[in-house]
Symmetry: C2
Subunit: 329 residues, 2 copies
């Protein structure tokens, strides 16, 4: 076999998880934002998210508090993407022996900040030594509210309207600014350093029978919608003109020399939600959503019958998101 | 602050977890083998265990299947130490882009083998890129049988008999043999490469009201009993002559030039259980245990009132276990 670059993250996951044993308690296994397991008389949601120094974060442009916040937020967002309620996390810290304890205290302060903000407990974890660098792995446990079913990636139906919360691409622009040492686009930088898991919004949407499939944007709209298209076997059409773009995004994108839509479509780590909605109820649902949350909620496309795939203005969209192992776009 | 070496693993954990928020759902937080969380109408057990290449395992003397088995077994053992039933795991894999996919398939085959053996599901996980080397982090979820309470480290009472399953130290001797390239002590090597989490034994013990505190041996009897002594505020006396030593251990220890008891007392990663028992029921319980399981069950000491600590033949025992950050004994 060739290396992991050729296989890609999703190819690797498939190769690794094929043949793993399943049990009847496993209501939903690998391949969604969370696993769903029958436990203690209820449905428990489980997920984990790891971040590695030098790959997912650097100490140059993020404070340890930001790194800790972000690691926690990324994990909590997986619960949001199912429409669940986050209950607790486990934190695994790997670090070299010469790591500054002040840096580590900062990491945990950031984790404490995000879990406090969202009413989640740190239940435990592990600390291990590495040969170099720091990694954080956050496992998260949640549950569904009584009578509410998890919103799987596979739930989209032909005819659904595709909606997105917030303004994805903000985090990617914020990262670009940080890399340039430009601290002026504060809201974009905050989108990158202090992303907000959409837990209240996800749980609200899951109470709506018109909300079908849901996913959080960790790799970019194009890539993450691809998971919905594939698992729901729908053909998704999105329109460039419909992508939500904030004034801050538009202003800063000019400095990058790239189209703002490229960030909106391909930028990852916003942790906004994409949800597919029954077409006849979508507009009324949107009105109630924006009346409840101080957050944009935009219709960006439709799901149609046809071969699974994501199309932008009628053209197939390549994988423009972030694949952890592939080197190309 | 000085470096992590001075702080040590347990000092680090204390420094990091002080001040983390708690919630009423968290029945038992950091500091035991598992966290216990109120979820879905029941008590859910949670833990995680990470292994880093070059620190916890090497490719030189362990096959990828062994490494995967061991990572899974270490996590499952935390459920055993509470007396719980393991239900599922999440597997986070970190690896460099140039990692051989065949090696990774081997890792997952080992994980699949251990979870199949113990009736546990792989519910999900994460894959991330590292700059070099592989790490595995396994989060495990379990629950207590109806009406059975978790066996905490803090449950030991003065007067309790200290009992241990199997022959701890076997894994450390097996590792020594592997490092020497000596493959003759097969049972010792298997103790290191294919440790067996004592799930059935732990659940059986938890059904016995005479079984008070329990812990699994990951760092060595001396170190792990220290956690029971500290959290239960008891003075623990153990006797060298009472430590269970198998014939294979005795034979191979001679080749090492060290006393076999040093391995029995300080050797980690056996994942045997240490349990404290009500003295008046201990002997009858032991008879039933050995009639049920094909496994030694040895009385090695007693818990007494007095200052928390572990004493061997009347002398205080230093930390002879494995501390992930301390360099000295």
């Amino acid at each position: 076999m060739s290396g992991l670059d050729a296989l890609g993250e999703f190819g690797l996951i498939k190769a690794l998880t094929d043949g793993l044993p399943e049990t009847s308690r496993l209501l939903c296994g690998p391949g969604d934002d969370c696993a769903v397991v029958q436990l203690g008389g209820g449905q428990v949601l489980l997920s984990c998210d790891a971040m590695v120094e030098g790959i997912h974060f650097g100490r140059d442009w993020m404070s340890p508090e930001d790194i800790g916040w972000k690691a926690g937020a990324a994990a909590l967002s997986d619960i949001a993407a199912m429409g669940g309620v986050a209950r607790c996390i486990l934190v695994t810290l790997g670090c070299a022996s010469d790591t500054d304890p002040v840096f580590l205290k900062g990491l945990y302060a950031g984790i404490a900040a995000v879990v406090s903000e969202y009413g989640v407990a740190v239940a435990g974890g592990d600390t291990v030594r590495t040969r170099e660098g720091v990694f954080l792995d956050v496992a998260v446990v949640g549950e569904m509210e009584d009578g509410i079913t998890p919103r799987h990636r596979s739930n989209a139906r032909p005819g659904d309207i595709i909606a997105v919360t917030g303004c994805p691409g903000s985090a990617a622009l914020g990262l670009h600014a940080l890399e340039q040492g430009d601290i002026t686009p504060a809201t974009l930088i905050e989108a990158h350093t202090r992303p907000r898991p959409r837990l209240a919004e996800g749980a609200w949407l899951a109470r709506e029978s018109a909300a079908h499939a849901m996913i959080d944007i960790s790799d970019g709209i194009a890539s993450d919608l691809g998971h919905i298209a594939e698992r729901s076997s729908v053909h998704i059409e999105i329109e460039t003109a419909a992508l939500p773009v904030s004034p801050e995004m538009r202003v800063y994108a000019k400095k990058t020399g790239r189209a703002v839509e490229a960030f909106a479509l391909g930028g990852g780590e916003d942790y906004e939600l994409v949800v597919t909605l029954a077409a006849d109820e979508a507009t009324a649902l949107r009105e109630r959503f924006v009346a409840t949350f101080d957050l944009p909620f935009s219709f960006i496309g439709v799901a149609q019958p046809g071969a699974a795939g994501v199309f932008l203005d009628g053209k197939p969209v390549g994988r423009q998101g972030y694949d952890h192992f592939s080197t190309g776009k």
